[in-house]
């Protein structure tokens, strides 16, 4: 005699459980469709527009981040190195190569949830195209490590996972689909402290 109520309860449990869980998971897992992936780097050139897909709109409303307008710049983020391994403060990395055309760029590290990384106050938290040391062919080589390095050094917190953020300011790539032809610098792991 409880057959029908049980079946209704089963259907409702699946509806609300799976529906809610999948929506929350989708909002946490992705910023939306329409990303550009260049090696380990990802950018969302239309995430701030009214053409953004519903997932992107839901994500930006939940995140509350201040996005870059298309004439302002384009933000590339990397969570993995070029070999696909997650970035970790227990390892050191070299960011090597050329950046896409832009008037300026900045590079800094964040925690996985996008907060500034906890590094010592007297260490500068980022690098930019004005102060970075270049090689003779105009390419860059940035050492990312928890300990001080010669040359270009980007400090990250020891032993904690982090993300890399490369912001291109006033770049012709932001508004166009031509971004696919561009090359971003590679992120090569050079060693780990306890491996």
């Amino acid at each position: 005699m409880f057959r029908i109520p049980l079946l209704v309860a089963l259907a409702l449990a699946i509806t609300f459980g799976l529906g809610t869980f999948s929506a929350v998971w989708a909002l946490k897992a992705t910023i939306g469709f329409g990303s550009i992936a260049l090696g380990p780097w990802n950018a969302f050139p239309t995430a701030q527009t009214s053409r953004a897909d519903p997932y992107a709109k839901a994500h930006r409303a939940r995140d509350g981040a201040l996005l870059f307008g298309s004439a302002e710049g384009l933000v590339f983020r990397a969570a993995n190195d070029s070999a696909g391994q997650p970035l970790s403060g227990g390892c050191s990395y070299d960011i090597v190569g050329l950046t896409p055309q832009a008037r300026f760029w900045t590079l800094h590290a964040t925690t996985p949830d996008g907060r500034p990384v906890p590094v010592a106050r007297d260490i500068t938290g980022g690098l930019n195209s004005w102060t970075v040391l270049r090689r003779p062919d105009n390419s860059i080589a940035v050492h990312v490590a928890a300990d001080a390095q010669p040359g270009n050094w980007l400090a990250v917190p020891p032993g904690q996972p982090f993300r890399l953020v490369l912001t291109l300011l006033d770049t012709p790539t932001a508004g166009s689909s031509g971004v696919i032809d561009l090359s971003m610098p590679a992120i090569n792991r050079t060693g780990c402290a306890n491996a």
């Binding site: 999948s22 929506a23 996005l67 307008g69 302002e72 800094h108 930019n128």
Partner: protein
């Protein structure tokens, strides 16, 4: 057995519908979107420079140590709003967004007249009045039509070296985001 399968199928269909409903409804109910967070900073129609360090309470911060930025919540319901900042930094960019965080307009110092930020944000009706009157004070301004009444502005500047920090802070402190008096339009 068949009825259990049927119930599961109905449940899955319902889950798909609920998933879509939640994704579409989230932007209206988060209370954590950029416009709400900027409105929470204080009075509208003034630029608030954002701190670079994490603040208690999860307020808005500037997460790029090489940039400085200021935000301003605005409404053109009553009067047009003028954004103004004199030149003096190596790079600035401004983004105008509506209250749902859709980009309305963006530009940087390269496209500005003499490197100064001078933008008038208005509704279509207000823009018509401005174009008709063509006041001297706004002759150099870039006129932008706001499809919505409410929105926010993000003003960014680039700080390549620590010595330029002072200039960047002064640039943001001097930036104006203010309603235009109807008197100046006549």
């Amino acid at each position: 057995m068949r009825s259990i399968l049927f119930a599961t199928l109905i449940g899955l269909l319902g889950a798909a519908a609920l998933h879509i409903l939640i994704i579409l409804a989230v932007p209206y109910f988060t209370g954590n979107d950029a416009y709400t967070r900027i409105s929470d900073l204080g009075e509208p129609l003034r630029f608030y420079p954002l701190p670079n360090e994490t603040v208690a309470g999860g307020g808005l911060i500037n997460d790029d140590p090489e940039m400085r930025l200021a935000v301003c919540a605005l409404s053109v319901a009553e009067n047009p709003v003028r954004l103004y900042a004199p030149p003096g930094v190596p790079f600035w960019s401004v983004g105008l967004f509506d209250s749902a965080a859709n980009e309305v307009f963006s530009m940087n110092d390269r496209t500005a007249v003499a490197g100064a930020l001078d933008v008038v944000v208005a509704t279509a009706v207000q823009l018509n009045a401005i174009r008709k009157a063509l006041p001297q004070a706004l002759s150099q301004s870039i006129l932008v039509e706001m499809p919505d009444e409410d929105g926010y502005v993000v003003l960014r500047t680039f700080v390549p070296t620590a010595t330029m920090d002072e200039a960047a802070r002064a640039f943001l402190a001097n930036a104006a985001c203010e309603a235009i008096d109807q008197g100046t339009l006549e």
